[in-house]
Amino acid sequence: MASDHESALASNVPRPTLEVQNLTTEFVTRSGIAKPVRGVNFSVMPGQIMGLVGESGSGKSLTGYSIMGLVDHPGVVTCGRVLFKGVDLRGLNSAQRRAIRGDRIAMIFQDPMMTLNPVLRIDTQIMEVVSAHYPVDRQTARAMARSALVQVGIASPDERLSAYPHQFSGGMRQRIAIAIALINKPDLIICDEPTTALDVTIQAQILFEMQKLCREAGTSLIWITHDLSVVAGLADTVCVMYAGEIVESGTVQQVLALPRHPYTSGLIACAPSRNKPGAPLRQINGSTPSLLALPSGCAFRNRCDRASDICHTPPPTVDEGGQSFRCFHPMPINKFNESVG
């Protein structure tokens, strides 16, 4: 999790679009304080696609919300810096943050039926994201909305504009959400499992189109998912999250071909496509620990067969040529890096 910031200043390399440093979010509940996001660090360069991978409950969605400043009560972002093009978002007031949301940073959610307001027309919902940030008249805004629909591949856009969300299929609704996200040409889009609720074929289409649109526009993308195969096909870099922490990060080639953290290794091995026909499916023993009762030191140690006593203390971050991981007993480097406990 090395910061590119210092090296950027030093060697005149382009500045990262987003740099997250030590981000921590807490929830104060009656049963105690839970920390679903603990000391998260990563950065995303312009035009880069980063995958944020983890099981449900790993804190990946909340990381996205924390960056956007959309964490609801009783959650609070308690520390860390979120540097967007060098400016710390946490230091801005709510009006400034609102100005950035929807314009410079956009977000797409998982369930398109729930994210579009069922009683408002599509054109209203697209146009308002433009008029909230720029002084445009209705005509212009509507024209922009129309071309946004065309851009995401929706046929007969004029009819569609006057329609309501429930008249569309899931895939089309998600495209509309993408259109909304893209319309102001943001520098960063955070996608929170946007294809999970869709058919596999639609999923592939959307992935392809997102990738194309982002490459063309130079937009950075953070793709939050639990599905490694999506990351493999789509992303440039990947961060693996477990119990609120980033346990491994690096380029997709590095992490997927040679995973160093036992959890990453286990995740990869679990993918059904890796199985020989007839052989039993692999799994990682145990289940995600409750956020209120995390094991001390490495959160994964109770499920790891490589764990030892030293794992009761927080593991250090090791950096090997751009690939970082937090482990005392990383997977050894050899070509057949497959098995885990």
Binding site: L70, R98, R101, P118, A132
Partner: protein, 329 residues
């Protein structure tokens, strides 16, 4: 799609007629079968001959089912009998007083929506604030306190102590499309305010609660989060996104409450001496002037059924999910 909606309307229409019929039978039986209607009209010392004569005049000597058919036949022609006490036809008697009651009821409904929704929105957005808590406590009072009691206090405070508003009666009226209404004059409005407020109190509390619940629920929805992610201002999120979602159920409830409002006007009209149907019905009940009671009940039921029907139909047009799927949600 047009066919589906038409079928829907037709079905509801037929249902409504059926309910009206059923109710008329029930009402008729209840009123005419219990007790002896003749007792209203004659002194206790009247002899048998007198009784028979009166019975024949008012058609009370026929078997019950005959009476009902007579009643139904007349009803379809718009004649629901003659008042025993006033010796004039029942329906015109009631219709004469209706504008006053309607005026009161509509004013109450408007107050309920106009005050209830903004207050409810406020509480929904800031549930922990002091103002919010005060509003909620007052709304609880609005539910539980008897209307007549609140009317009393309103009179005590605003009419007796402060002298700002009149204590009773209806103000000066003007004709609007041939119907006397009082809200067009300043004096009329002054007289209308307290009774309308009194009548509206229960519904204001109801709307506040509904709006609050609806707002709180709406704020948890994904589309609100998405709207915030778009960078929309809070006033737009609440004023457009949230409001449109909660408005329809709330207005539906209030519209359905309209019949109740008219019925409860009986109490308010008594407290404020408002010359509407309410006072008439109280007096009629006291002396058991059955035609008037029956006519009033039938009218109220008809109002109820019509409102339900209209609300259903409008709902099916307004809620886009319902409209475009052709009828039933």
């Amino acid at each position: 799609m047009v066919a589906r909606v038409t079928v829907f309307i037709l079905r509801r229409l037929i249902q409504s007629v059926f309910i009206l019929l059923l109710t008329s039978v029930l009402v008729f039986i209840a009123i005419y079968a219990i007790g002896d209607p003749i007792d209203v009209l004659i002194s206790p010392e009247a002899d048998q001959l007198e009784r028979i004569r009166i019975a024949a005049t008012f058609g009370l000597d026929q078997p019950l089912w005959r009476q009902y058919l007579l009643f139904a036949e007349n009803a379809l022609q718009g004649d629901l009998g003659r008042s025993f006490a006033f010796s004039t036809p029942a329906i015109p008697l009631i219709l004469e007083r209706m504008p006053a009651t309607l005026e009161l009821a509509v004013a109450a409904m408007l107050l309920a929506i106009g005050l209830g929704i903004p207050l409810g929105l406020w509480v929904g957005l800031r549930p922990q604030s002091i103002v919010g808590k005060i509003i909620m406590s007052v709304s609880i009072l609005g539910f539980s306190l008897p209307t007549f009691w609140v009317g009393l206090i309103l009179i005590l405070v605003f009419a007796v102590q402060l002298g700002w508003l009149p204590a009773s009666g209806r103000g000066a009226t003007q004709l609007l499309f041939g119907v006397p209404v009082s809200f067009l004059t300043w004096d009329g409005l002054r007289h209308l305010l307290l009774p309308a407020l009194n009548l509206a109190l229960f519904n204001i509390a109801l709307v506040i609660r509904l709006t609050r619940a609806g707002t709180q629920e709406a704020l948890l929805q994904d589309y609100v989060r998405f709207a915030r992610a778009k960078g929309l201002t809070t006033s737009r999120i609440v004023g457009v996104h949230v409001l449109k979602n909660i408005l329809i159920p709330i207005i539906t409830v209030i519209a359905l409450q309209f019949g109740s409002i008219i019925a409860f006007a009986i109490v308010t009209e008594s407290v404020f001496a408002w010359p509407g149907m309410g006072k008439l019905i109280i007096d009629s009940i006291r002396v058991l002037d059955r035609p008037v009671i029956v006519a009033y009940l039938m009218l109220i039921v008809a109002v109820f059924i019509t409102i339900n029907l209209v609300v259903d139909i409008i709902y099916s047009f307004v809620d886009p999910r319902v409209r475009l799927s052709g009828g039933r949600v």
